[in-house]
Each structure stands twice: as structure tokens, then as C-alpha cells.
Amino acid sequence: MNSIRHKIRKVFVTTAVVLACGVVRAESPATAISTVDQRIVKIFGSGGLKGLYGYSSGFLVSAEGHIVTVWSHVLDEKTVKVILHDGRRFDAVVVGAEPALDLAVLKIDGDEFPHFQLDDSVAAVPGTRVWAFSNMFKVAAGDEPVSVMHGVIAARTNLTARRGVFETPYSGPVYVIDAITNNPGSGGGVVTTRTGELVAMIGKELRNAQSNTWINYAIPIGEIRTAVGEIITGKFTPKTTRPSDDGQPAKPRNYSAFDFGLVLVPDVIVRTPAFVDSLLDDSAAAQAGIKPNDLVLFVNDELIQSCRAFDEALGKLEAGDRLKLVLRRGNGLITVELPVPKKKP
């Protein structure tokens, strides 16, 4: 053993001299893994019905108990259960979300939680060797460490978020990984370097509807860092428009619900029903008698099945058009017409 160590030292010294190697992190894989593991949490929330699993992963980003995870149906409850690496159980509340980034921030009560510093995260390039941590398949319970997998960053690219291929609101840059990191419950896990530096957040499972294949990807921390910081400090406002779909001609976005004084419920799933959440005071919509909880069924005789479809229908309006809405309120249908206002250039 000693002779091996001696040889290793000899090789190391030689290599260091020859290559003039810079800073070296001395952390062993086991230490890196256990350090990361202390910052990962298991999340249990709604779901559990056929096809919808009720669990996911997350990671602590502040000593006060802020947890970053993916925005998913698992969080569709007032509180969700969070279990720390040491088995401690907490009720967590969602303090903010950015559906456009597939991002949510939770909070548990307490202090001195081990956590990642988002500012210390690092970027990776194709070829970077990584660990992926998550509670995929809910394998770990209580204080059991989450699963760790090995992989290599295969690409950094934009997620092709064409509808019907990958159904996700997020279309920004992602790391594609050569390991099967994205499984049920993996979303909200982390990808780190082999020395445990935070690189990315594992995204939700995405299936390519055309090829029936699944993509293993993670969202670079750099993409979510600002939003997380703003959510934690309370300065966050969700983006009103989504980034245009990559590689597709941008759809017209002439008008949005906001232009009529309408605020719809948060668009969290692929087909979030287009319910009215609230109305701006003195807006055209309010004056026309639209009320919170009305469900939009038709826009100018076009069937509207989701918030997204509603957005797209409004995007196609031109100044001077009439906007005819058919709404369901209780068991009745209401038809409302609004003028489409001129937009200032």
C-alpha cells in the first residue's frame, strides 16, 4: 500500500512539474459525494395516481432552508413534505416559481442547513465528467442517501422545445448527459463535477413524442441563479412572455391577456385550463363583467383548451379586431365582446 502511495506521489510530482498543473482539489469522490448528499432533499407532494408520481428531488441553497426544485404537479399542494439527508422531516411551502424556467423555490423553517452557494456553481463543457444526484424512483427513504450516477456532459445546447416533441415550457440552454439521469423523481436533483461543485439542476422527464425516446438533460445553474435570488429576496416577477421557441418561426405575440386586464392562473402544466385568476381594476375585461374563476372556452370561435392556446389566440389579434370570448361560469355560458385596443408602437 505504501509503495503504491509512494508511486502515486512520484507520478503526481512528475506530472505536476511537467504539466505545471494549477489548482488541484484534493477532495476524494467519497467526500464529494457525501458533501453533496447533505444538500439534497427528497420531496413528497401530490400525485401518486396512475402515471403521475408524487415525489421529486431538490437542493438547499440557503442556510435558512430555501430549496430549489423543478416546478411540477408534485407541488400542487399547500405544503409538501421535505426529507433531509439526515432523515429530518419538514413541511415546505412554495415561496415562488418561474414556470418559464421550470423552476420553483420552496422554504422550510430552520437555520444552519447545509446548502449550495449558487454563486459558486461552475460551468461545464462537453467532456466534463459529472455526478448526478437525485431520488429517482424514490429509492431512498428517510436518511438514506439519494442515488448517485456517473456521466459525462455530452453537449451544451438549447432544448428544442417544439410542441409535440418535447412538451416543456423551458427552451433555454441545457446540458445533455450521457447517463440516464432523468427518471421519475429525478427532477430537482443536481449535476456536479466529480469534486462536488454544483453545475446544473436535473430537469423534468421529457419524452420525444416523435421517437419515443427520452432526453437526459439538466438546466445550468447560471440560467436559474438570478430568478432564484429574486424569489428568495421577494423581488421576483415572472416573465410575461416566454422565450421564442428555438428553431421555429416566432409566433406572433401581438396581444397578451394583460392588454385586456386579464390575469390567468399560472400556466404550470401542458394543458392548464384557461381560468381567469384576477382582473386589473377598471380594465376592459373587468368592465365587460368577466370575473375570477371564469373559464375561457372560445376565443373568436376557436376552441381554447389551455392557457397556452389562449396566449396564442391573443397573439394573433390585430388592432381593430373584436375579441369575442365564450366563458363558462358555474354551469352557464357567457359571451363577452371586447374591442382590441390600438397598441402604442
Binding site: V24, A30, V125, M149, H150
Partner: protein, 605 residues
């Protein structure tokens, strides 16, 4: 051009060096090449022990690994259950060997088979799965998708993703406790094959994966039964039995504060008799601290029925340690026939690879009109014997013969079927005499000649005589029967396996003898082969009478009059018996004189 080194796998645990090197290395980084050479060498060394298992008819199969030169190989129960009692096993040398089933563990999904035809089979060393940790490199070998027609195993490489994992059973069998989770690809056909550590030691047997919606192919989480669990069961498997797993007779739950507490307990269980009650907090079990229900199940899953384990519990802030024997999971009748139950959990199975369109593949084209399997040759048939409760009773006879050498070495007592008298002084100075006669057994002890009697005969029940021994007199009768008449006198007699004596002692082979519902378990030192004691159990849910032999003599020194009658010593006899019951020592009997007759002397006069 400066190039990043994309190679992602190394054996040497020198990350500091490797990171340094990877930043600056060129394509032929000597460190990378060296670790690659090491990896290749390890795989080359491991491959010859890997077995491709096929049913005799050629339909279906799986993998296995040789663990001894005489051909014993491990696999999964769910592989051998589909391949019949005789199977064909291909090795990487391209040769197809005959093999026969030895023992099965349906609950743990393990099977032991024996390859035939060589006494120098290549075999893999067994590692220590308790030191395996997340992040360790590992590789799986086997025959996924039954790809290898030349039997050269497929290697898949990966990381240990987690240890001490618990995977729910399908019904009451195929439960994966304390298993190793890996991201090395485990696919249909890998089942039963070995998981190696980076040094090429077997740390587990690959058996299942989390597959869910992607069909029955690897999706990043495969599970291997830990080799340390299998080591506990190894002699049980060699016994040719259908091996049972254990329960404590108590279930546990997680209290609000995270403590693991007993929520139900059987009053018939040994745990109850040792004092465990509902609401007691279990602190540790078998030396492991418990913090989840899974961990409790993990401990139970890795030990066979009958083993004794230390358990520490807390009640009213007081900790107490007890030693508890484990009960069987299944009733005897459930194992009279081999379990037929098919796994309900997704299991790696050949030919279940889903197609991209989600449809199931048409049956794999077999050789045109697959011929029926050739009849099993006579020389193989001799190695297989059916008996209820056994996968292959033939191997039980093999193990009985091995274990009972410790009995034979005591000498020939077969002529001494008459009455016996064993007299001497107990450890506390009281004189005693046992009398073993045809109609009953008596013990007279002490100056006041206190006497105890156990009546013998078809209608007689085994009594707790003397009271508080658990049936010492009946135990003496079993001892005499085994010595004089041997296994044939018992209604059931077989080799059970091995266990640590009394939970903490040396490993002993265990042989079970049963007569009119009373069982005795005979313990032979695994290391020395000698008889070290036995237990007599009057019923299912009572503590046994435990007798440990602390000394043997041939009487030559005059310490046991009457044994060899002054002739040259041919017999050896245990002359110091420690008798224990329910954790209380009853007495130590030092036998100083004996009379072992060959006929009934009173009647014969």
C-alpha cells in the same frame, strides 16, 4: 492541438492527480492508459468465471458466476426457476457444460447451481459488500439479451449509486433487501450474473432494476443482491433446501420523532419472550443503528431463519440488549412444493425488449422447430433427488455426510442400544445420575436424591424435565438415539446450513433431527468438524434446551470409568455438559462414570 481527455472511467482512486492530468493531458495520457490496462486485466481475469445459463431446451436463460473450483455457481432464483433442474451453462472458453440445481432461496431471489465435468473451474473471489460505498466503480458481467452465442460475457461499467437499498417483494418472494444499486446497465439476461468491484471481486448478484415506463431495459437503476447476504445463506443453499428467510415476529413503524418503534409483536415470538414489547424503541439490530423501517427490513432480509441476532431496545430511557432467534417467514407447507409464483415486479427477462412503437416484439425466431430438449442422461440423473421442501435432496446427503464426520469420529456406539447410566458431579458439587432406559429416562440429583422422569413411548409428550431446562431428559434421549441408531431412527433428518453458535460464537454446521414432533439441532464446528453441542426443542414457540459440550474424553486418563472398559480406547464421549434454557444456566454436568450396555440388563437376567 490541446485536447480534453474525455475518458470517464478510472480505477485508481487518485482524483487529485487525475483532474490535474485531465486538464493538460494529451490523447495518450499515461495515467489513463495505465488505468485502462488495469481495467482490462481485471475484466479478463473475471470473465472466465461468468456463466451464461440456458434451459436445456434452449428457451430463455440468464447469467451466473462460478464461486468454487468444483463448479458451484450463483444465480437468481428467477433465472433457474425458468430453466428447470438441469441446465446448460456456457463459459467464456466457449464450452457448454451441464449443470444441476443445488439450492434455492425464492425470497432472496438466489439460486445455487453446480456445473459438472471439471474440478478446476475458474471461479471468482467473493468480496465484502459491507465496505462498498456510493461512488465506487463497479462492473456487471453476464449475458444481456442473450447476445453472446459464444458465451463470452458482456461487460457494463458503472458507479455504485447507493447501498443498503430496499426493494419491495413480489408477494412474499423476490424481496431485495440491503441490496446494491448501480448505474451500470442491468438488462434482461443479466439476471443472476455477478457485480464486481474494481478489484474483480464479486460484491453482488445482479437481479432487477427500476424500469417503469421505459420497458424492461436499463434506465439507470439496477439492483444487485449483496454478496454478504448470500454468504449468510451459502451453506443453507448448499444443503439443497428451499431456503426460508426470517422475521422477528414483530413489525415496526416510524414514530413522529423519527424513532423506530415496535407497533405489533407476536406473543409466541422469541423477541416477546426476551422482553420486547409494543412501543419499545429499537435502537440497533444486528449491530446496525436503525433510523428507517427499510433499515429494519434490510437487517431481517440478510439473515436466514434460525439465526440469533443482538437487538438493543429502549424503554423509559433505559437501554437493554437481547439476543433473539429469528422465525421463518413462510410456513413449512408453503415450501413443500417449490414456489410457483411468478414475479410481479418488473424483472429482467430476455425477449421482453420493447420496441420503439411500444408494441411487443414478435417472439424471437428460434432455430426452426426447436427440438425438444434431449433426455437427461443417466449420469446426471444421479445428481438429482426430489423430496418435499428441497430443490435437490441429493446435495443434502452430500452435506450430511460431510457434517456427520464429527459424529462418526466419536466412535462406534451402534451396539450400545441397552440402558445407559451417566453419573458424576454437577458444577455446584451435587452428585447426579441419568438413567436412559427403554420406557423412560430418569435423573436423580443432589444429596436429597431429587428425581425427575421423562416417560418414553408413542403417546408420551416431551416434558420440561427437570423444570426450567426446556426438556433435558428428552435431549439425553435424542443424544443416545443419534449415537446408537444414527439418522435413520428419526422421522426427519437433514442438514440445515450454518450459523454462528448462539449468535456470537464460532460458525457451526447445523443438522436437524425430528422425532414425534420434537426437534433437535446438532452443531458441528465448521472449522474443526467436531460436535460442539445441540438444542432440543419441544415445540414451535418454546425456548429450547441448550446443551454445549465443553470437553470430550476417551477415558484413558481414568476420568470416565466404563467408557472403553479398560480396552484400547475406541470411543470418545462428551464428559462435561453445560445445560442452558431461556438464557439461564441450569447446571454443568461433569460425567465421571458411565455404563453403556448393549442389551437390557434387567430383563436379560
Amino acid at each position: 492541438m490541446r485536447q480534453r481527455q474525455p475518458c470517464g472511467v478510472r480505477f485508481l482512486a487518485v482524483p487529485a492527480l487525475l483532474i490535474c492530468a485531465s486538464l493538460h493531458a494529451h490523447a495518450a495520457d499515461p495515467v489513463v492508459l495505465k488505468s485502462e490496462r488495469q481495467r482490462i486485466a481485471v475484466i479478463e481475469k473475471a470473465a472466465p468465471a461468468v456463466v451464461a445459463i440456458f434451459a436445456r431446451g434452449g428457451q430463455g436463460g440468464g447469467s451466473g458466476v462460478l464461486i468454487s473450483a468444483d463448479g458451484y455457481a450463483l444465480s437468481n432464483y428467477h433465472v433457474t426457476s425458468g430453466s428447470g433442474n438441469f441446465m446448460k451453462c456456457g463459459l467464456s472458453d466457449g464450452v457448454l457444460y451441464d449443470a444441476v440445481i443445488v439450492g434455492i432461496d425464492p425470497t432472496g431471489d438466489v439460486a445455487l447451481v453446480k456445473l459438472l465435468g471439471r474440478d478446476d473451474f475458474p471461479h471468482a473471489p467473493l468480496g465484502d459488500s459491507d465496505v462498498v460505498a456510493a461512488g465506487d466503480w463497479c462492473f456487471a458481467m453476464g449475458n444481456p439479451f442473450l447476445l453472446a452465442t459464444d458465451f463470452a460475457p458482456t461487460v457494463t461499467y458503472g458507479t455504485v449509486s447507493g447501498v443498503h437499498r430496499y426493494q419491495y417483494p413480489a408477494g412474499t418472494i423476490l424481496e431485495y433487501t440491503d441490496c446494491i444499486q448501480v448505474d451500470a446497465s442491468i438488462n434482461p439476461g443479466n439476471s443472476g450474473g455477478p457485480l464486481f468491484n474494481a478489484a474483480g471481486e464479486v460484491i453482488g448478484i445482479n437481479g432487477r432494476g427500476s424500469f417503469e415506463k421505459r420497458g424492461r431495459v436499463n434506465s439507470g437503476a439496477g439492483y444487485a443482491i449483496s454478496i454478504n447476504q448470500i454468504k449468510h445463506f451459502m451453506d443453507h443453499l448448499r444443503s439443497g433446501r428451499i431456503v426460508d428467510h426470517a422475521t422477528l415476529g414483530a413489525t415496526v413503524t416510524t414514530r413522529d420523532d423519527g424513532a423506530i418503534v415496535v407497533d405489533r409483536i407476536l406473543e409466541e415470538s422469541e423477541a416477546y419472550r426476551r422482553g420486547l414489547r409494543v412501543d419499545d424503541e429499537i435502537v440497533s439490530f444486528a449491530g446496525r443503528t436503525l433510523r428507517s423501517v427499510n433499515q429494519y427490513k434490510n437487517v431481517l432480509g440478510i439473515y436466514p431463519k434460525g439465526w440469533k441476532l443482538p437487538l438493543v431496545f429502549r424503554r423509559d430511557d433505559k437501554k437493554q440488549e437481547i439476543l433473539v432467534g429469528l422465525r421463518g417467514v413462510h410456513r413449512k407447507s408453503e415450501f413443500l412444493e417449490q414456489p410457483k409464483k411468478q414475479p410481479q415486479q418488473p424483472q429482467p427477462r430476455p425477449d421482453d425488449k420493447p420496441q420503439p412503437d411500444g408494441k411487443k416484439k414478435a417472439p424471437r425466431p428460434t432455430t426452426p422447430a426447436a427440438p425438444p430438449p434431449a433426455p437427461v442422461p443417466e449420469h446426471l440423473k444421479k445428481l438429482f433427488e426430489t423430496k418435499p421442501g428441497f430443490a435437490n435432496y441429493y446435495f443434502n446427503k452430500v452435506e450430511q455426510e460431510r457434517a456427520l464426520k464429527g459424529l462418526k469420529s466419536l466412535g462406534d456406539f451402534s451396539s450400545l442400544t441397552g440402558s445407559w447410566k451417566l453419573g458424576g458431579t454437577a458444577g455446584d458439587g451435587r452428585p447426579f445420575e441419568f438413567t436412559v432406559a427403554e420406557k423412560g429416562i430418569g435423573l436423580v440429583i443432589g444429596a436429597d436424591k431429587q428425581s425427575f422422569l421423562q416417560v418414553l413411548g408413542p403417546q408420551a409428550d416431551a416434558e420440561d424435565e427437570p423444570e426450567g431446562t426446556g426438556g433435558l431428559l428428552m435431549a439425553v434421549q435424542h443424544f443416545k438415539l443419534l449415537l446408537t441408531k444414527g439418522p435413520k431412527v428419526f422421522s426427519d433428518f437433514h442438514y440445515l446450513g450454518s450459523e454462528p453458535l448462539d449468535g456470537r460464537g464460532e460458525m457451526v454446521d447445523v443438522v436437524m433431527a425430528e422425532l414425534t414432533g420434537v426437534q433437535s439441532h446438532w452443531f458441528f464446528s465448521r472449522e474443526r468438524g467436531t460436535l460442539v453441542g445441540f438444542n432440543l426443542q419441544r415445540g414451535d414457540d418454546v425456548d429450547p434446551c441448550e446443551i454445549r459440550f465443553q470437553n470430550f474424553t476417551d477415558g484413558a486418563a481414568g476420568d470416565l470409568a466404563g467408557l472403553n472398559d479398560g480396552k484400547s480406547p475406541t470411543r470418545t464421549f462428551p464428559n462435561r455438559w453445560l445445560v442452558r434454557h431461556a438464557e439461564h444456566e441450569f447446571a454443568t454436568f461433569v460425567i465421571q462414570k458411565c455404563s453403556l450396555t448393549s442389551s437390557q440388563p434387567v430383563e436379560s437376567k
